[in-house]
């Protein structure tokens, strides 16, 4: 009985120490940095992860694949969201409330705010002074797709463009861009 109590106390103090340590950890970051720490800690080398913002997913995927925020730096998202009335030639205006919610999500999850293995490589390929607006124009993207001939993408009516991630990356909706799960429609399994 006495021993049981001893273990109980030990366990409790262990939990307390751990939770205090977590508190101290999260307090280093300021405000929105909180989530960054948590995710950075848990998913150091993980995939880019699924879209976690409902407004972003609903509004943007009404017209196209909702690209992961971690594929562009924060400054790129800011520029894109400030020019929705001419969004790559389309009008994609939003009301102020929705626009701010989405901008905030994209900024806090951008490549330079929430690092993972993709966003780090992406950032390295972007000049410090550049503000890319298209993921498909970054050197990292081009490098990763360099072996794919145009006939499989732009010349392939089932794909059409390198912007349609989901056509070939079947797990893209869940933030998985693993090259082993790539299937190009109309062609047999893509092998590196």
């Amino acid at each position: 009985m006495k021993q049981k109590k001893y273990w109980g106390i030990l366990l409790l103090s262990g939990c307390l120490t751990l939770s205090m340590a977590t508190l101290a950890w999260t307090e280093d970051g300021e405000g929105e940095g909180h989530e960054r720490h948590e995710r950075g800690f848990l998913h150091q080398a993980a995939d880019i992860g699924p879209i976690t913002n409902k407004a972003y997913k609903t509004e943007c995927s009404a017209c196209h694949f909702a690209y992961p925020a971690g594929f562009l730096p924060e400054r790129s998202w800011v520029k894109i969201m400030n020019n929705l009335d001419d969004h790559f030639g389309e009008n994609a205006e939003l009301n102020d409330k929705t626009r701010l919610v989405i901008t905030d999500y994209l900024r806090t999850h951008a490549a330079d705010r929430l690092p993972n293995r993709f966003s780090r490589s992406m950032l390295r390929s972007v000049d410090a002074g550049a503000t890319p607006l298209r993921i498909s124009e970054t050197s990292y993207f081009r490098h990763k797709h360099r072996e794919i001939p145009a006939r499989m993408v732009t010349g392939n009516p089932k794909v059409g463009s390198f912007s349609n991630c989901l056509s070939c990356h079947s797990g893209a909706d869940n933030g998985s861009f693993d090259e082993h799960s790539v299937t190009i429609p109309g062609f047999r399994q893509w092998e590196d």
């Binding site: 017209c63 009008n91 205006e93 939003l94 059409g160």
Partner: protein, 132 residues
């Protein structure tokens, strides 16, 4: 089996009622902004009217993306993305959200016509869509 039919019928009819209420509320709003009576035939003419899309260098109209047959799905002329049918009779998700209606009027009028639609034009188009 009978129940499934009954349930489907109920769902379809309640959806039609939902879009009807939203459309009526919108039309009322447009009248307060100076519009008069609304006409589906005029809405159809507007739907088909071609305009020069400067950035694209092409003549476009609403049907360019939404398809000429409103009961069929359309296809975005640039991204190729499927656009579900506009007719509330076959797509209960249409015209049942005022905010969504206004969002798309703003975007699509500006892109297709190069300007915002007037309250009268929006009312005529909504009346036309609701009749399909």
């Amino acid at each position: 089996m009978k129940y499934i039919y009954a349930l489907t019928l109920l769902l379809i009819s309640s959806a039609a009622v939902a879009s009807e209420a939203v459309v009526q509320e919108r039309l009322g709003q447009y009248r307060t902004q100076g519009a008069g009576d609304f006409d589906a035939a005029r809405g159809q003419t507007l739907w088909q009217q071609e305009h020069m899309q400067v950035k694209l260098g092409k003549q476009v109209n609403c049907a360019s993306c939404h398809s000429a047959n409103l009961q069929q799905a359309g296809k975005h002329m640039r991204t190729g993305k499927r656009i579900e049918p506009m007719a509330p009779s076959v797509n209960p998700d249409r015209l049942n959200d005022a905010e969504k209606i206004e969002k798309w009027f703003t975007r699509n009028c500006k892109w297709t016509w190069g300007r915002e639609c007037t309250a009268q034009e929006k009312g005529d188009i909504l009346t036309f869509l609701q009749s399909k």
